[in-house]
Amino acid sequence: MAQTPAIRLADVSLVYQGAGREVRALDGVSLEIPVGQRVCVLGANGSGKSTLASVIAGLMAPDAGTVELVGERVCTEGQADFEAYRRARRLLGLVFQNPGDQIVTSVVEEDVAFGPENLGLPRETVRRRVDRELARVAMTDYAQADPSRLSGGQQQRVAIAGALAMDPRVLVLDEPSALLDVRGRAAILRVLGRLRRIGCTIVHITHFMDEAVEADRVVVLDHGRVALDGTPTEVFSHADELRTMRLDMPFAADLSCRLRERGVGVPVAMEAQELARSLAPRLGTVRLAPEQAPEGRATGDRAHASVPSGKKVLQLEDVTYSYRPGLHALEHVSLEVGQGERVALVGQTGSGKSTLLRLAAGLERPDAGRVVVAGIDTSTKRGRCAAHHAVGYVMQHPERQLFAQTVWEDVAFGPRNMGLTGAELEACVRDALELTLLDSKAGLSPFELSGGQRRRCAIAGVIAMRPHLLLLDEPTAGLDPHGCAGLHAILDRLHAEGVTIVEVTHSMEDAAQADRVVVLDQSRVLLSGSPAEVFSEANEVALIQHGLGVPAATSFSRVIRRLGVPVEGDALGVGELADALAAACRGGRS
């Protein structure tokens, strides 16, 4: 049926008035979204994608251009019609990044009912919709639960149910999974798949490229303009352009582009399976990772999750800790981290990763067992205070703790408290700002920085204290691909300078770059060893069962092995995989 598009934007511009300067968030955007389409909007931080979400959800009127939402002309040449906006909003749903801020009450089912109640629907209809939507997002069992006690992924599903209960014609999701773990993200994608089948129009804003693969259409924003627009295959064929827009590629597209660069003629693939099938017949023996991973050596033997050599910077000896009686956050955890080591901590939400960092930082006292940091036992208050000075701890969202007038002052806070003054203080702050590429921003207010810069500023404040041991809790959460890469470059440099790093991450790709991976599950150490050991074939099933996984490159090398290609070893990174595959292709042909 030929019908009016669900969303139509014509030459829309929106300008934010900042402190003495203007930011053009949207710059002549024209976009038409037909009913029932699932559109993914990609873009780096600051590309205007959140603003676009607000405009499409009817929460912001642009300064110029024409907007038609669900058949209502809400804005004509920059003139907003507020009555039309009110009517349109009743048919639009919005879910955004932070689930906590969208939930208005203390019982799941009341929260889902909030929207339909506002629409003035009869009680029976409200009840029916609440039940229907809770079932759709698989949260029926939690109808009476307190949302603040649910995991981030569950909260986000409640928020989606709350939006869907209003029966919107268009659902707008603004980075709904940016703050979730692997399992939470997968659940959100399943819900979106189900919605597409019932014909709901979806506008999904994300910077996880892999989430864009399943969309009907991908729109890439850059500096407030539509830079690319097409099917996923069309858009992800522009590898170079995406890179200059500071974006990434989904794994299969990335690998196929890398292979094409290396002279292997494959089509740009969206699905790993599809790429593997087209590649497999042309491959000779694939030789990966010279020393083959000794499978099964990484075990859950929790007494010896240790590295044999060198001085120990952090030792946990049979540590048990609980925030509330009877509810263990950590149980009999033993772990040793040697000088200069880089350790990745992975595990689902609630597995005890953050608690482990808090103990290592001396912010908590173990209920049983011993925590020794840089030779300091943290069982006494004096010990914990000494530990604070020896350890740098970057919490989740450290940018929320910025406070000073200027970036320089904020970074200087720690060193100054350590008693540094004059040239010494100058040197500490200068080094930290240089390392985080913020030297040109020293005089700005931290609140004027972009999201990624604020994160780096907060990290600079910690490394300015020159800690021997740096603890980071999901340092890349919510950053775009470029921001993630920048942060990893900083950590690489610190590691090269000999700083010991313990990092909590949800990304198996990031974990594969560490010297050692420690997997926590339900308050215990499940696995510990080198990335090759932990991500070995023997452990794959267990990792998936515990809501984790293996890096995409590792998984791909196993897929082609299962297709009958002889593969020696496992790949951890996409670069080495592409090299090995390209070599095997030439070998196969000759």
């Binding site: 607000s54 929460l59 009110r86 909003r89 009743r90 639009l92 749903g93 919005l94 955004f96 932070n98 906590g100 801020d101 969208q102 939930i103 208005v104 009450t105 203390s106 019982v107 009341e110 009912a113 909030f114 929207g115 339909p116 109640e117 506002n118 629409l119 003035g120 629907l121 009869p122 009680r123 409200v126 009476q144 307190d146 603040s148 939006a163 209003m166 925030y323 808090r358 930082a361 912010l363 205070c385 604070h388 000075h389 740098g392 701890y393 919490m395 450290p398 929320r400 703790q401 910025l402 406070f403 000073a404 806070f413 720690g414 408290n417 350590m418 609140f447 404040g461 910690v462 204290m465």
Partner: protein
């Protein structure tokens, strides 16, 4: 976690007190709480104590949890007790140490004032623990609606109060994180002299204000997106049903007031 605020946080046990319609529950609770302040003799105090313990027991909320949520007010109770015991001088002297004398009158007054405040607090906190923010809003909305005719934004006031309660734990968690981060960077609040402490409060307050503004911004977006336009056209998921349970609650509250008056 540096500190935990449990003030006014909903705790679900599905007791009769939870089921009681908030539009009846809240006026009854207010009547009980006001009545507590008219307590003047030992029998009345005993009755007040019995009534507040009964309310707590009826809610089936663990006692630890109830006491936990009024813990911040223990200081106030202690001060009331101490002032009366130390400075009121009627009746016979019990103990006399130098200029300080504890008299029977002082001890009784301390006990009475602290006792009736405790009773009122127990009732109040139990009501908050057994009522969700959404239903508190609805109840205040209904109760204040006569004032709306005089131009008071009754519904909006109720909504603001309930959202405040909803965000107390969120902001408390963030304050905890900020305090921890400052401590890690050598700016601990509990170290050093007075001047140092006052200076170390500044970063915490600035960061907390910034986070408060961020939440407010997000929340206004969420309310807009869900078509919240004040209370005019809103319907309700739960049938507001004034029946047997509500009648019992009103009867018991009246009985309490009458009994209190008879004991005077």
């Amino acid at each position: 976690m540096a500190f935990r605020l449990e003030l006014g946080q909903y705790y679900d046990t599905r007791s009769p007190l939870h089921r009681l319609d908030a539009r009846v529950k809240i006026p009854c609770a207010l009547v009980l709480m006001v009545a507590m302040f008219f307590i003047g003799n030992a029998w009345q105090l005993l009755l007040g104590a019995a009534a507040s313990v009964a309310v707590v027991a009826l809610s089936r909320v663990p006692l630890r949890r109830v006491l936990g949520s009024i813990r911040p007010l223990f200081v106030v109770l202690a001060i009331i007790l101490a002032f009366n015991v130390l400075f009121v001088r009627d009746g016979n002297a019990l103990v006399e140490v130098g200029p300080v004398a504890i008299t029977t009158g002082g001890a009784w007054r301390g006990l009475l004032y602290a006792g009736r405040l405790t009773c009122a607090l127990l009732v109040g906190t139990t009501i908050l623990l057994t009522t969700t923010p959404a239903r508190l809003t609805d109840a205040f909305d209904a109760l204040l609606s006569p004032l709306a005719r005089l131009g008071l934004p009754a519904h909006e006031i109720a909504m603001v109060c309930s959202l405040t309660l909803r965000f107390v734990p969120v902001v408390a968690d963030e304050a905890g994180a900020i305090l921890d981060a400052q401590a890690m960077r050598g700016g601990a609040l509990d170290e050093g002299g007075m001047g140092h402490r006052v200076r170390s409060v500044v970063p915490v307050v600035v960061a907390l204000l910034a986070s408060g503004l961020r939440h407010a911004d997000n929340l206004s977006r969420a309310l807009d997106a869900r078509c919240y336009e004040g209370g005019t056209a809103r319907t309700h998921l739960y049938e507001s049903h004034v029946g047997g349970l509500e009648a019992v609650a009103v009867a018991l509250s009246c009985a309490f007031v009458v009994a209190l008056a008879l004991l005077a």
